[in-house]
């Protein structure tokens, strides 16, 4: 236990990477000088988010009720929020698409959440690089 704590990376080594990675997709990789991978992550997450907006996808608002509603709406909200600055800018600039029927809107909603979830993967990767678990 004491050995594990001694080996645990300090928060200063990974917190800026994780924070920047959340705000700007691929930002953690840029901070760690992995520009090629950071660029690919930025382009992928940004494209997916913009496609979601252009398909007029809806942003999830946290709602509670039965277990399924709570999981879908709170989970969806967290997924949207994981896009960082993209989500914050879109909502601050007034993007508030109501949830309407139609496969294009539906795909848009999934693209918006998917962009956030891909950013979570990018953040975890940046964390592992920052703590020396991978290159």
């Amino acid at each position: 236990m004491a050995t594990d704590q001694a080996k645990a990376p300090s928060i200063g080594t990974w917190a800026p990477v994780v924070g920047l990675g959340w705000l700007i997709p691929g930002g953690g990789h840029f901070l760690l000088k992995r520009t090629g991978r950071g660029t690919l992550l930025l382009v992928s997450v940004l494209s997916m988010f913009l496609l979601g907006l252009m398909m007029r996808g809806a942003m999830f608002q946290p709602q509670t009720g039965d277990i399924l509603t709570t999981i879908i709406y709170c989970g969806g909200f967290l997924g949207d929020l994981a896009s960082g600055l993209l989500y914050l800018l879109a909502t601050w600039l007034g993007y508030a698409q109501p949830d309407v029927a139609g496969h294009v809107h539906d795909y848009g909603t999934k693209f918006l959440v998917g962009a956030g979830l891909l950013n979570v993967l990018a953040i975890v990767d940046a964390y592992e690089i920052a703590t020396g678990k991978k290159d």
Partner: protein, 61 residues
């Protein structure tokens, strides 16, 4: 922001493309392995897409 209308197939292909790029970038250790894994993920996505599409078509009767 322009509005975009995509078919199911186009939207699913785009989703597969971006998800495959990210999965390729974050999982492997060398660029060669990343490229191979990304392409493999994309092929699997498309295969699942076409397979499930046929399954739903045939199941629908």
């Amino acid at each position: 922001m322009p509005k975009m209308n995509l078919s199911h197939f186009e939207a699913a292909i785009l989703f597969a493309l971006f998800a495959s790029i990210v999965l390729g970038v974050i999982t492997k250790r060398t660029d060669q392995e990343r490229l191979r894994y990304g392409v493999r993920c994309f092929v699997y996505f498309v295969a699942a897409l076409v397979g499930l599409g046929w399954l739903m078509y045939l199941g629908h009767g």
